[in-house]
């Protein structure tokens, strides 16, 4: 049933020119400085007004292993991964033969001349380029050649595709904006590539760029930086983290923003504390200590770190302490594939820790939602007094995405049910874990509150509604039942699922997170090629709101599309829905570690029709 079990045949490339509708794959060696070249290509397309996306497929390594960067231009705004490569830039001798072997007929290959790839296949279009010879001409200093060699392919690609050179130069100068000399040298390398292509290569492939006006006013940002901005504007004050791919850049971006915008220029004093902890256990311990004290505190991690956080998460849940935890998912289990993407932590996160635990999990599907749901996470954590998870993934978190500029938050911070000394005076005290309002959410005081009755004892052991140690059966049961009531309350507080597309007929699709963009493309494929006009509901949180059952009820068959082996969200939905609705769900799973592509989803859904 899963895609990897299907023999998916690549469809023949369509006839005619591929105008703003193709994908370029650049195969290089990790650590060779190709990232700058790839970003220049990406930005040139973006500045030409063409919808574009870039995906970095990199190894768990600093230098020397193969890495691929895919740039996709799509006039139809498809910014998910495209399975097929139309133009390959083969710079890595180690992988070049395999890279060429994987292409479909009529694809084009720009390659380093000494590799002699043209002998390998007759059905491809080859463009040999003597990179070493060209770089020697523009870069007299031998030791710098390695750094600018990759910029030459930007010029070759640009000449073949018809890039707007003014935009390319702008992109180069932006990339090296702090280093005039480097900018000049790199631009010279682009120009040398361009000149070589003009003089020596005859255009034979069908990929072509034409200026559009589809990106005006938009930004390019990765999901981790977007989430960091969400934390910044949520007013985070305590950040504790431990480095782990692919989450590190979230806290690193955040700390950069905090240093820039949250330090008083006159006194040099900070309105935040950021600590690199000794491990993930400690990171979450710090966040809980800070949340208990009343601060907005966060950490970010990935699978292995999340495993370590299980114990503290249980404490946060049971002692009812606000915390925000970002999990930028990568491929597990264990160390897994640290630099590949998955949605494999869904069921683990939903019930993280031993005993009866259930957690609020937010599911951003776009860069903008990484920003918005980060802010919501802090509000929800304090409103519900519990750890709140934000599940992103490597694809969403580390790759570059186009987005509309983020709006400034309209709502003030929601700080939840906190009693002041004045409240305590008026009320004559309080019981920390009593359900006063019937929503399962108790009241708390912050340590330091100046009132003789403000103090309470926080513990992970059994407690009564006053926070006192208790092993009484009734106290235990009342407490965990109230926690479940609180979880039910969360259903109405979390961001609701969105009907992204209204369909016609019996079919519905449910997806979440980074599956969103490829799914939009897949829906078009299903409609245009298979006649299936499916509706699409995008989940944005767990627990599920009533809109999800309503969507399933309105369709006879509902495909749950996700990037894990076991159909984890499918399972959570089946547990939550009434049996007659649960029976309508079908699991669609793609999980090879690469960002899911539309065609894989489409093929699987088509296969399920049989």
């Amino acid at each position: 049933m899963a895609t990897s079990e299907l023999a998916v045949k690549a469809p023949a490339a369509p006839a005619g020119d591929l105008v703003n509708d193709f994908s370029i794959q650049v195969a290089t060696v990790n650590g060779s400085g190709s990232q700058s070249s790839n970003l220049v290509l990406l930005r040139t397309l973006f500045q030409m007004g063409i919808p574009v996306s870039g995906k970095n497929l990199f190894p768990s390594n600093i230098a020397g292993l193969p890495t691929w960067y895919t740039i996709r231009a799509s006039h139809r705004h498809y910014i998910g991964r495209k399975k097929e490569t139309d133009l390959l830039v083969a710079m890595n001798p180690e992988t070049a033969r395999d890279d060429v072997a994987g292409l479909r007929p009529n694809a084009a290959v720009i390659y380093d001349e000494p590799l002699r790839l043209d002998a390998q296949r007759q059905d491809l279009i080859f463009y040999p380029v003597p990179f070493d010879k060209i770089v020697a001409g523009v870069c007299p200093e031998a030791k710098l050649r390695k750094l600018v060699r990759n910029m030459i392919y930007v010029g070759v690609v640009g000449e073949l595709l018809g890039m707007d050179w003014a935009e390319t130069e702008k992109a180069v100068r932006r990339q090296f904006r702090r280093k005039q000399k480097a900018a000049d040298l790199n631009w010279a390398a682009v120009a040398a590539g361009r000149d070589y292509a003009q003089q020596h290569l005859t255009k034979r492939d069908r990929c072509r760029l034409e200026r559009m006006n589809e990106t005006a006013g938009q930004i390019i940002i990765d999901g981790n930086a977007a989430a960091a901005l969400g934390c910044l504007f949520a007013g985070v004050t305590v950040v504790a983290w431990y480095p782990i791919t692919p989450s590190s850049s979230l806290c690193e971006s955040l700390i950069e923003y905090l240093r820039k915008y949250r330090i008083d220029s006159a006194t040099g004093q900070a309105t935040f504390a950021a600590v690199q902890a000794e491990d993930e256990l400690s990171a979450l311990g710090m966040v809980l200590g800070a949340g208990w004290m009343g601060a907005r505190a966060m950490t970010s991690t990935s699978g292995p770190g999340l495993s370590l956080m299980a114990e503290f998460t249980g404490l946060g849940y049971y002692a009812e302490i606000p915390a925000v935890i970002f999990d930028i998912q990568r491929v597990g289990p264990s160390t897994g594939l640290p630099t590949r993407t998955a949605q494999g932590d869904v069921s683990f996160t939903a019930g993280l820790s031993h005993g009866d635990t259930r957690h609020v999990v937010l599911l951003p599907g776009t860069a903008r939602e990484c920003y918005e749901l980060a802010m919501r996470a802090f509000d929800l954590a304090e409103q519900l007094q519990t750890p709140v998870f934000v599940l992103s993934d490597l694809d969403l978190g580390m790759n570059n995405w186009m987005a509309e500029p983020f709006p400034y938050p309209e709502q003030p911070l929601q700080r939840g049910k906190v009693l002041t000394a004045g409240d305590l005076e008026r009320l004559g005290g309080f019981a920390r874990y009593r359900d006063v309002d019937g929503d399962g959410i108790p009241y708390r005081t912050l340590p330091g509150t100046d009132h003789p009755q403000a103090a309470f004892f926080t513990r992970g052991s059994g407690h009564n509604d006053q926070g006192q140690y208790s092993e009484k059966a009734a106290d235990y049961k009342d407490n965990v039942d109230r926690l479940l009531r609180k979880f039910q309350t969360a259903r109405s507080l979390v961001p609701p699922a969105i009907v992204e597309r209204q369909g016609v007929g019996a079919h519905g699709v449910i997806a979440y997170g980074s599956t969103h963009f490829p799914l939009l493309e897949s829906l078009d494929q299903l409609r245009e090629k298979q006649g299936i006009d499916a509706a699409y509901l995008r989940l944005r949180a767990y627990p599920f709101g009533p809109e999800i059952a309503a969507f399933v009820r309105a369709h006879e068959v509902v495909y749950v599309v996700e990037q894990n082996r076991d159909g984890q969200m499918y399972d959570l939905l089946r547990l939550d829905l009434p049996a007659e609705l649960a029976a309508r769900l079908r699991s669609v799973r793609c999980y090879d570690g690469l960002p899911v592509d539309a065609r894989s989803i489409t093929e699987t859904i088509v296969h399920l029709q049989d």
Partner: protein, 345 residues
């Protein structure tokens, strides 16, 4: 606040000892930990500390139950096993104006909590960290901990064949700025050390030998009352003079070392046998090593460095608690978002 009869003694902020009491202890009668709780109550009362300005934290184990037995008007946090240091760190970052007392045990600190302990010392977090050290796991009924002495024997006859970790030497090595060892049965010394630790701004690590009356107070145990009484050697007489007390001199100035603490109060150490300088890290480490080799339990203040910056100071935080900063100080204005957005175009 309850009305207090006039005859009851009050401290400088008008509170009685009863305002510092905790719940009834559920530890074994005669447990050294109860005596330590008493000393904490006395020290906070005598120093006139505001209970609501104190947080008391612990991990898991017999020792870690004790924060429920002192300072009822302080905010308590009984965390998970071995991981109180991280909770304390987060709490103090969120509000660095609070005073923190952490209570741990030898299992909680030196076995499961070793990683967090080491980093807590290294960060010089401003708090008092007490190890109620009995060399044994009490709550799980008497297994050895990593501070059990080589050759010490369990009731079951099992002999410990691994060397102990010296928490004081470790704390000094890692960067703690106030390191002492005392004995739960030494009321006078423990009180003075606790008060000085509370006045210190930085990591004050106290290893307090606290015999387990149930599992480790028999002949053959090196952490029994009997053994400690026979083998304890006090490094110095410890006297603490709070900043608000009149300065008076008990000791012959020729044989005392006086250290001024962060808040202006003074710690006086009367030298006994040797010329010991508690501000010399190397000397402290060498002394601890040599005494250990003799099977002696050396007590006193081994190391103190009142000048070293603590962790919250190093982060250069605003004077107010981060936890309660108003929105306009933590959410940057629209212009900042606009600036960032235009940089991403």
């Amino acid at each position: 606040m309850a009305t207090i009869p006039a005859e009851i003694k009050r401290n400088r902020i008008g509170l009685a000892t009863s305002d510092y009491k905790g719940g009834k202890s559920t530890l074994c009668a005669g447990c050294g930990h109860n005596a330590i709780s008493e000393r904490i109550i006395d020290a906070c009362y005598e120093l006139g500390l505001d209970p609501h300005r104190i947080i008391k934290l612990s991990g898991i184990g017999c020792s870690s139950k004790s924060p429920a037995y002192f300072l009822n008007r302080s905010f308590g946090f009984n965390a998970v096993h071995g991981r109180m240091p991280s909770v304390a760190t987060g709490a103090l970052l969120a509000n660095h104006t609070m005073r923190a007392i952490g209570v741990s045990g030898d299992g909680d600190t030196v076995s499961i909590g070793m990683g967090q302990f080491v980093h807590l010392m290294r960060r010089n977090l401003p708090m008092v960290y007490i190890i109620e050290d009995n060399g044994v796991y009490g709550l799980t009924k008497g297994q050895f901990s990593a501070t059990a002495d080589l050759g010490s024997k369990l009731k079951t006859g099992v002999v410990n064949e691994l060397p102990p970790v010296d928490t004081c030497a470790l704390a000094i090595l890692c960067g703690a700025t106030f390191v002492a060892r005392s004995f739960s049965g030494d009321k006078r010394q423990l009180s003075a050390v606790l008060k000085a630790a509370l006045a210190h701004r930085g990591m004050a690590m106290l290893d307090v030998i606290s015999p387990c009356v149930t599992f480790n107070d028999h002949e053959g145990s090196t952490k029994s009352y009997q053994y400690v009484k026979e083998h304890e050697e006090a490094l110095q007489d410890v006297d603490f003079v709070p900043v608000f007390d009149d300065i008076h001199v008990d000791y012959d100035p020729g044989t005392t070392t006086e250290i001024q603490l962060h808040d202006g109060s003074r710690l006086r150490l009367r030298k006994l046998e040797r010329d010991f300088d508690p501000q010399n890290r190397k000397g402290a480490l060498s002394l601890l090593t040599s005494y250990h080799a003799q099977g002696e339990v050396l007590t006193g203040v081994f190391y103190i460095n009142p000048a070293s910056p603590d962790f919250t100071g190093q982060l250069n935080l605003v004077p107010e608690p981060l936890a309660t900063l108003p929105m306009d100080r933590v959410r940057p204005p629209q212009t900042v978002l606009d600036e960032i957005m235009s940089s991403l175009r």
